[in-house]
Subunit: 199 residues, 2 copies
DNA sequence: CTAACTTAGTTAGAGAGACTAACTTTCCAG
DNA sequence: CTGGAAAGTTAGTCTCTCTAACTAAGTTAG
């Protein structure tokens, strides 16, 4: 019988996935830089050399977590968009809210996703996929099928805004700025303003 | 003679400052997480135990660099503002440009400044000082002296925007989004839109 | 069913880094 | 000139990443 290609459990369980889960838990618990391979091994109950049968190095473990993150965020974005008319302000706002809420709920993973260090082609592609959802909605709003330069120029400030908001909140700067505005209101307002045609 | 409290050079030169400089250079060269105390020591030509006479630990060395950063950014902001009428769109935009340009020129330091890990009271205060310049300008624009809630609510989206822009550029996501708009134009546009009174 | 191969784990250890303890040198005050 | 504090040093501990060499378990061919 041909191997099912996905997760075949050889000796123990699916160690790779267990390690990714342990890594993720640690990254959330203590931040990406304080994560250690050794500790993930202890959590998974294997020797410290075991991960190297599944990952080239420490970085690759973190990348695996970031990949998971992009998958989840893309999924959540699609779900959020589907509740509103394509290309509507509501659809676009909803994606922004998802973005920030994802960061709030998974600060460690979110930071990894955009860390800039350890960039992989896979990671870049996953990011591309995620941003694609946004570009698609903005194009729809502009009555276009193709994603051209105008779409890019319109979408980018939106991304910029929610990205900044996500980071400021993660790093505790939002409270510091004493802004208690409701997240949805804030994003909706910024979306409307940034999408406004310059007068 | 009473000690001058600032930098008295005992044995060798002012090792503390030399270490901060070495740390900064390394942080810029290889990123904050890959920075090592040992390497800073080699750069400064001292033993690996020497830093611990000046800093409690590795983190404190990084914090010192971040403090420098806040000082420089505050200074640059003030300089930029002074070229325009107080509270004008130009003054506010100019600060945004300074923010992003500082991040471009000092990505490692910038990341440290907002890392969220190793937060100190000193660091928070320095950040406060920096943001104060912005709040002051926004208050002026709104014809106010006091920095009240309305000022905060107006200023925060601006910060959010430039913060996001800074991070996206640092992490190479701006090119990825294929946006080649001139930085000043982009910031000026966003400033105008985000300052617009919601209709 | 078993021999040969592959996969996934093990232990042991090298090399680097953070930090500590105990010692030494230098500077300064009285 | 002498005692004490400041600022270095060496040596050593502990932890971490990653490698090498070995072993056990599962897979496949004959």
């Amino acid at each position: 019988m041909a191997k099912v290609k996905t997760k075949t459990a050889y000796h123990h369980g699916d160690l790779r996935q267990q390690l990714v889960a342990a890594t993720r838990a640690l990254v959330e618990a203590k931040g990406p830089d304080l994560f250690s391979v050794s500790e993930a091994c202890r959590a998974a109950g294997v020797s410290t050399a075991a991960p190297y049968k599944h990952f080239a190095d420490r970085t690759e473990m973190l990348v695996a977590v970031a990949m998971e993150g992009f998958g989840e965020m893309a999924e959540a974005s699609v779900a959020a968009v589907s509740k509103h008319p394509p290309g509507s302000d509501e659809a676009i706002s909803a994606m922004g809210v998802v973005y920030v809420e994802y960061a709030d709920a998974n600060p460690g993973v979110f930071k990894m996703m955009f860390a800039g260090d350890h960039q992989t082609d896979d990671l870049e592609e996953a990011g591309h996929g995620c941003y694609g959802v946004v570009l698609h909605q903005v194009a729809a709003r502009m009555g276009k099928i193709e994603i051209d330069d105008a779409v890019m120029r319109t979408a980018f400030p939106l991304w910029t805004f929610v990205h900044g908001l996500a980071f400021l909140r993660i790093d505790g700067k939002a409270e510091f700025a004493k802004v208690d505005t409701d997240l949805e209101d804030l994003v909706a307002m910024a979306t409307r303003q940034l999408l406004a045609v310059p007068s």
